[in-house]
Symmetry: C2
Subunit: 324 residues, 2 copies
């Protein structure tokens, strides 16, 4: 274990790649490594990037890497992709665009696809962030595909969360925006050469203002930055906004440590406990055949799923009675 | 309880509305009602509708309701909206469009927003489907906002799952499509008067064909239907495709019961057990203050979250030792 810690902290690419793959595959052994690496974490600055499909997140991340490298920062990129529910693989297609950084030893890029291990994607992403952090990367970019609750949870692990939109996405986007509005530290309008940019800007501004009225204890006012990632326009302004947000965190929330605020730790622990409990209990229920018998009874219509659940859960907790 | 069952099965709107609200709010008492109602479920046909923001799902659902009503079917609609992580409310904005059906006693429309109760959105949606099913609705439409894993899980409860796309959504949509491709029974290209429809059609066709080669045991070939929901064009063709899929299920998978196939029941039980375990254990850990002490130690840097998790989980399971 000491050897592994030394390898990771000295930036050994193969060791880190294997560890992240083990996290993604939900290998139980990886937990001991994570415990040992934990004291070496807490140094990296984590930026989460989320937004609907088609807004150009990958292109943006690619440009961010280029700019951060010019500043002399080492960069880790985690592309959090949805898993196909049946085939179980990450979608690596647009990773290809990142190829221009693939020979740069200061850049480490990996995709995560996990679902159903260790508390799912959110937990795996946090563990992978810890590994890249222990590896010594200065900045970690976490890019998610999609705008569901999963993605929101994933980007909440970041110091700075960036919501990427494009002009004229139809009115359903309103609903999504409301759902993610409160997690956005910076809003980025990509493809801002397109028609409708001013309208989108005005809408976002209004939403942010309405939101601030509700939560006036939070003093950070999310800026809205216009970018054309593909032409490398506005990326500097955007990174300046990230710097400003980092300074804000430093002053108000204890800086880099804010990723470990009581609120966040609380939420992380809730998810981790949930996943671990289930893992331990399901192993037992599967071994004894109890789980299969319950499924069978439900399929046959002899049992309802609500009662079945109780008959499995309570004995697993040492025969706790079902009193409510 | 007998009174409640009678009210629900005779279609009492107020009782049903209250039950669904209780499900959404995660009230423990609702479980007893769900157990009692379960024998009255299994009759309704459930159609799941998912797709990225802006593809016009709400308009489509509105037209579907109108067509199904013309056929004499009673309809339940569940609009599954993302919850804002902080303010916790459903986004009901575009529900307004449904107003033309609001006076029709044959239509019952509700939004669900739950997260973090009873296993989250997926579980709440299933329970709400059960309630509308017991209420006697012939067809239940489940509309989700977004295309994340949550939404995929939600629509997997349906007999027929419809993936809605629009022409020209950029190339990130490819990643999403791959993630949801295998759950789609019908693909619908909405706004198909727009430029790029043929390209989208060709892409979808190719993806479906590639997918079928991988899974040739599944013989249903998802059709791709062109619709302009806002002009009520193509909706009949679409519903004919749903009918055809229902016939296919009838012949191959035991028809309506396929919502209770061993595979689906297994997955549902996994989620339900997970949620219930956590609920029972967290209550105890919160009461004794153990959870707060662990959070505190992590925030102070005195404990890593991985070890903290084990120190909380194992005693809760009756002191199971941490052997792996």
């Amino acid at each position: 274990m000491k050897d592994l810690v030394e390898k990771v902290t000295s930036g050994d690419v193969r060791t880190v790649a294997r560890l992240i793959r083990d996290v993604d595959d939900g290998m139980p052994e990886v937990r001991e490594a994570l415990k040992a690496l934990y004291p070496y974490t807490g140094r990296a600055y984590v930026i989460g990037i989320t937004g609907a499909p088609g807004v150009g997140k990958s292109t943006l991340v690619d440009q961010m890497v280029a700019h951060l490298r010019k500043r002399g920062k080492t960069v880790g990129v985690l592309a959090v992709d949805p898993t196909s529910p049946f085939s179980g693989g990450a979608i690596l297609g647009d990773r290809v665009r990142m190829q221009r950084h693939s020979m740069d030893p200061g850049v480490f890029i990996r995709s995560l696809a996990t679902r159903g291990h260790f508390g799912g994607l959110t937990q795996s992403t946090r563990s992978a962030i810890d590994i890249l952090d222990a590896m010594g990367k200065d900045v970690i970019l976490v890019e998610t595909v999609g705008v569901g609750q999963d993605e929101v949870d994933v980007v909440r692990s970041a110091h700075t969360t960036v919501i990427v939109v494009i002009p004229g996405m139809g009115d359903d986007i309103q609903a999504i925006k409301a759902g993610i509005l409160e997690v956005g530290d910076i809003f980025l309008i990509n493809k801002s050469d397109r028609e409708g940019t001013d309208k989108t800007l005005a809408e976002l501004r209004l939403m942010i203002e309405m939101d601030q009225r509700k939560h006036d204890e939070g003093l950070w006012k999310p800026p809205i930055i216009k970018v054309e990632a593909i032409f490398d326009k506005g990326v500097d302004d955007f990174l300046a906004a990230v710097d400003e947000h980092a300074r804000y965190l430093e002053q108000t929330a204890g800086g880099l440590k804010s990723r470990r605020s009581p609120e966040r730790v609380r939420q992380e622990m809730v998810e981790m406990i949930k996943a671990r409990l289930f893992e331990e209990v399901l192993d037992k229920l599967t071994e004894t055949g109890e789980f299969d018998r319950a499924v069978d009874a439900i399929v046959k219509g002899a049992l309802d799923p609500y009662s079945a659940c109780e008959s499995l859960v309570f004995p697993a907790l040492g025969g706790l009675p079902a009193e409510e």
